[in-house]
Symmetry: C2
Subunit: 544 residues, 2 copies
C-alpha cells in the first residue's frame, strides 16, 4: 500500500514535469528537433525509408488496441516513432514526388507552427482567441478581395462587422464546399411568411412550402467527390448532383448545362447551385466561369466555384485571367494547404455577399452571444486551431508577387514537361496543362500509331492492355521509392470518351528540377521494359 502510494506520488511528479520541464536540447526529441530545424529535407531523407513496405506489414506495428498501462519515456517513444512511423510515412515534400497536391513547405512554417501550437488558441470565440479573431477576419478579407476585388470602403465596412462574415476558415476544401452549399441551401429555402425557413423547419417542410419537386446541384463530370458528399450530408441526396459532360479540354459543356437547367425547371426541380470547377483534381482544367455565371443568372440560381486547387492562381497577374468570371460567383472555395504552401488543415470559403452567412448563424448562451464577433457563429466547425496565422504570415513573407512567381513557375514547368512528354516517342500526352497538372501514359510510338488507325474494338483491346501496363509502372515506381506520380482514370475524347488510365502529375513543388522530370520518364521507360507480359504483348499486336 505504501509502495503504491510512493509509486503514485512518483508518477504525479513525473506528470508535473511533462507540463513544466522542457525537453533538454541533448535529449532524443531535442536532437530530432534540431536536425529538423537545421535541415528538414535532410531529416526526411534520412528517416523516411525509400522502399515500399506493404500496408499489411506496417499494420503489425499498429495492432494493439489497449491504451498502454505503463508510461513511456519521451526519448524511447521518439525513437519508436522514428522507427515505425516516420520511416514509413510519405515524403510529400520530395521534389521527385510529383503525384500529390501536397508539396514542400517554406522553412519559416515550422517554427511558426510551433508558435501556433504553443499559443493553443481556439478560434471559435474571441474569449479564447482574441487577436487571432481580427487576424482571421483580415485573412478572409484579403482572400475575398483577391477573388472579388471589391472597393476599400467595402472592406472597411464588412471585414470586422459582428453580424457579417466575408468567409469561413475550415480544415479543408470538403468542409468549405459543404459550408458553401449549406449557405446556398438555407438562403434558397429561407423563411417566408409562416414558413420559418429550412434551418429551423427542415428540408421536407421547405420543399413542400416552396412547391419544389426536388433540388439539383449541377457540376461537370470532373467535379470533386466532395460535392456528392455535401449533397448527402445536406439531405438533398447524391442523385441530385447532376454531372454535366465536358468538352475535350475537360471543361463543362455550357450548352448541355443550359439544357439541363431548362429540363429541371420544367420538372419543377430547383437548381440549388451551379458549381464551377477552377482546377479539376484530375486534370487541372478550369471551367468557363463567365459563361456559367451567365447561366446561373439566367436561371436565378446560386453559383459556387470550387477553386480548392486553382484558386491560388488568382495571385498571378499573368494567369489570373484563366479564372475570369470567378468574381461573379456567390462563393468560392480555396485551399491554402495546396498551392499556397501552408501545411495541411487550411481550407476556406469566401462569400460575395457579407450577409450570406446569416442563414447559417448559430448562437448559444455561454458562447457566440448575439452581436459578438465570435467566428464560430458562422462556421460549420466549432473549436478550431489558429491556422489563419500561417496563411497570414505566408501572405506577408512571400507576398503577392512572390506567390505569382511560384505559380507562374509551376505552370511553366508543367508546360515544359508536357513538351518533353510530347517529344518523347514512348509517351502519350493525354491532357495538356492549363494550370500545373497534366496527365500522360507510357505508349511507345508504334502503339500510338496503331491506335490512331485502329477501329474502336482494336483500340479497346490495346487500351485495356495499356491500363495494365500503366498500373504496373505506377505501382512499381511508387514501390521503388525514388519518385512518385499518381494515377487516375479519365474520359478521353480521342477514344470516344472512354475512360483511360493515366499518370497524373502535379508540378507545384518549386524544387522539382528539369533533370528530375527527365529522370522520371527514364525510370518509367525502364520499368515498362521490366513488364514481362503486357509490353511484349502490346508490341506484338501493334507490330503485326
Amino acid at each position: 500500500m505504501a509502495a503504491n502510494k510512493r509509486k503514485a506520488k512518483a508518477t504525479q511528479e513525473s506528470l508535473h514535469r511533462i507540463f513544466t520541464i522542457p525537453e533538454a536540447p541533448d535529449s532524443t526529441l531535442g536532437a530530432i528537433e534540431k536536425e529538423m530545424s537545421q535541415n528538414l529535407a535532410g531529416f526526411l531523407g534520412n528517416h523516411i525509408v525509400a522502399t515500399d513496405k506493404p500496408l499489411t506489414e506496417i499494420e503489425k506495428d499498429f495492432d494493439c488496441s489497449s491504451i498502454p498501462e505503463d508510461p513511456s519515456f519521451v526519448s524511447d517513444h521518439m525513437r519508436h516513432l522514428l522507427d515505425k512511423l516516420v520511416s514509413q510515412s510519405v515524403h510529400t515534400s520530395s521534389p521527385s514526388f510529383i503525384g500529390h497536391m501536397t508539396s514542400a513547405l517554406p522553412y519559416f512554417i515550422l517554427p511558426l507552427s510551433k508558435l501556433m501550437v504553443g499559443l493553443n488558441q481556439n478560434l471559435v470565440k474571441v474569449e479564447t482567441s482574441k487577436a487571432f479573431t481580427p487576424l482571421e477576419r483580415q485573412v478572409l478579407g484579403m482572400m475575398h478581395r483577391l477573388v472579388y476585388q471589391d472597393t476599400e470602403p467595402f472592406y472597411d465596412e464588412w471585414m470586422h462587422s459582428a453580424n457579417h462574415s466575408l468567409g469561413a476558415f475550415c480544415s479543408g476544401g470538403t468542409v468549405a464546399n459543404i459550408t458553401a452549399l449549406w449557405v446556398a441551401r438555407n438562403n434558397l429555402l429561407k423563411p417566408d411568411g409562416d414558413f420559418k425557413g429550412i434551418a429551423k423547419s427542415g428540408l421536407f417542410k421547405a420543399l413542400t412550402h416552396y412547391g419544389y419537386n426536388g433540388l439539383a446541384i449541377l457540376v461537370s463530370e470532373r467535379g470533386h467527390y466532395s460535392l456528392k458528399k455535401s449533397a448527402d450530408i445536406l439531405g438533398i441526396g447524391e442523385e441530385s448532383v447532376v454531372a454535366i459532360p465536358t468538352d475535350e479540354y475537360n471543361k463543362i459543356d455550357c450548352d448541355k448545362l443550359r439544357k439541363k437547367c431548362e429540363e429541371l425547371e420544367a420538372k419543377k426541380i430547383k437548381v440549388l447551385s451551379i458549381v464551377g470547377v477552377a482546377g479539376t483534381t484530375e486534370t487541372g482544367n478550369v471551367d468557363p466561369l463567365d459563361d456559367m455565371a451567365d447561366i446561373a443568372q439566367e436561371f436565378s440560381c446560386n453559383f459556387h466555384v470550387d477553386a480548392a486547387w486553382g484558386g491560388a492562381t488568382l495571385l498571378s497577374n499573368k494567369y489570373r485571367g484563366i479564372l475570369k468570371g470567378i468574381e461573379r460567383a456567390d462563393s468560392v472555395t480555396i485551399d491554402a494547404h495546396k498551392q499556397m504552401y501552408v501545411p495541411m488543415g487550411a481550407g476556406l470559403v469566401v462569400f460575395k455577399n457579407p450577409e450570406a452567412v446569416a442563414s447559417i448563424e448559430h448562437h448559444a448562451e455561454y458562447i457566440l452571444r448575439k452581436g459578438s464577433k465570435d467566428l464560430g457563429s458562422h462556421t460549420l466547425e466549432g473549436s478550431r486551431p489558429g491556422m489563419a496565422m500561417l496563411v497570414y504570415a505566408s501572405l506577408h513573407i512571400i507576398s503577392r508577387p512572390g506567390y505569382e512567381l511560384l505559380i507562374n513557375h509551376s505552370i511553366e514547368k508543367a508546360n515544359y514537361f508536357a513538351d518533353l512528354i510530347d517529344a518523347h516517342e514512348d509517351f502519350e500526352l493525354i491532357t495538356r496543362p492549363e494550370l500545373c497538372l497534366l496527365t500522360y501514359r507510357f505508349a511507345p510510338k508504334v502503339i500510338q500509331e496503331y491506335l490512331s488507325r485502329a477501329n474502336e474494338a482494336e483500340q479497346d483491346k490495346i487500351n485495356g492492355l495499356l491500363h495494365k501496363l500503366t498500373k504496373f509502372i505506377q505501382k512499381r515506381q511508387r514501390e521503388n521509392g525514388k519518385s512518385f506520380v499518381s494515377r487516375t482514370r479519365i474520359e478521353v475524347s480521342r477514344y470516344q470518351g472512354k475512360k483511360i488510365l493515366v499518370f497524373r502529375v502535379v508540378l507545384a513543388n518549386p524544387l522539382t528540377s528539369k533533370e528530375i522530370l527527365s529522370d522520371i520518364l527514364a525510370e518509367q521507360c525502364e520499368l515498362a521494359s521490366e513488364s514481362v507480359s503486357f509490353l511484349p504483348e502490346l508490341l506484338d499486336i501493334c507490330q503485326a
Copy 2:
C-alpha cells in the same frame, strides 16, 4: 526592363531560399523558437500582455484587406507577430485562467507538432499518409476499446479492416457530432426495396418512403449547440431538436424523455437519436446514460453520447463509473484537445458497430477506391492533418494511469474549490462539480439569507441586480488580466428554474494550485467592492 528582370531573378532566388535554407538559430525566429523550447510558460508570460485591450483597438492592426505587394523579411514579420498578435492572444495555458476548456500542454507536444507539420501527411488516403493510416486506425481502436471494452478478437478483426471503421477523426466535437448523426440518419433511412436510401435520394423521398411525419433528436436542455447546428446541416431542421428538461443536478429527466418519445411516436415522428451528454459544457454533469440506453432500446432508436468534454474520464478507473451506460451507445464523441491535453484540432467519434460507417461511404476514381484502406471514405472531412500522431504519443507517454492521475486530480481540485466557495460567506455555490466543472457567484451572506426567505418577486429583483454584479466582476477580472473565469446563464431549481448568471470554472490545468484558487476568490471580492452601484444597492435592499 533589365532591372525588372534582375529584380524577378533576385526574388526567385530568395523564394528558393525560403524553401531550402532554414532560419539561422540566431535569427529572430530562431531565437523565439529557442525561447519557446526552453521555457514555454516564460515565453507566453513575457509576450502576452496582461491587460485587456478592446477588440476594436486590436482590429486596427488587422484592417488592411490587400495582400502585400512587397515581401517581408521573416525576422521583421516575426517581430510584427510578437508585437501585434502574440501580445494580444489569450494565455490559455495560464494556471490562473480557469474559464476555458483549453489548458496547458505537455512539453513534448511542441517538438512533436513540428514533426507532424514537417511530415505534412494528408490522412485522406494511404497514398499521402502511409503509416499514419494504421496509426490513426489504432488510436481509434484504443478509444473504441476505452468506451466499449470489446474483446481482443473484435479488434483483431475490425481495427484495420478496409470496409469498416471503428470511428472517425475530425477537427473537433462539432464535426464529430455531425458525423454521428449523419451516420444515424443514413442508417435509419437506409435503402429499402425500390427506395435507394437517403444518401442517394435525399430526405424528402426518405420520409415519404418510410411514412414518417418528421424526425426528432432528443437531448437535455443542457445539450451543446452543435446538435442544433447538426440538425440544420443534415436537413432535419433545428426545431426537431427537442430539449428535455433536467433535474436539479442538470441531468436529463428520464420520465419526461420517455413521455416525449411516446408523444412523438403517436404523431409518427421518428426519433432519429437520443443524445446523452457526458459532461455538459456549462456544468460538467453527466446524464443517466444507462437509463437513456434503456429508453433508446425501448423505442428502437439510435443512442449517441456527446462526451466531447467528459469522455476522457473513462481513463480513470476511479471515476469511469460516472459514465456507466456509455458502452451501450451507438456512437460517442470525444475531444482529445480537451481533457487529453492535445492541442486544438483533435476530435473523434467512435461507433459501436464497425459497419455503421458504411452508410456514409464515399468513393472516387483517383482516391478512396473501393477496398482501399483510405480513411477518407468514412469521414466528413477530406484532406486532414496527422493529429492522430499527437494522441498516439500522448497515450503512450502519459499512459492510462497517468491520465487517471490527471483526471482524478482535476475532479478532486474542483471539489476542493467547491468546498472553499461553500465555506466562504461571500459566495454562493450554484452547481457542485461532478467532473471538474463548477459554477458559482458572488453573493454575500446577507444577500443569500435574504434570498432564502424572499418571495419570488423579491428574488427576481435581487437576482436581476446580482446578474449585473456578476457580469461586472467577470469582465473586470478578465480585463485586469491576472486571472480568468468564464460566465454563463443556467436554470437553477432553487430559483424556480429561472436563468441565473454565474461564474463558470473548469479545473483541468494540472498547474492550477490551491493558492491560485484562493487568490481568485480574493480578487473577486475586491472587484465586487469596486462596484459603486450594484453591490451597495443590493446590500441596502437585503439589510433593510
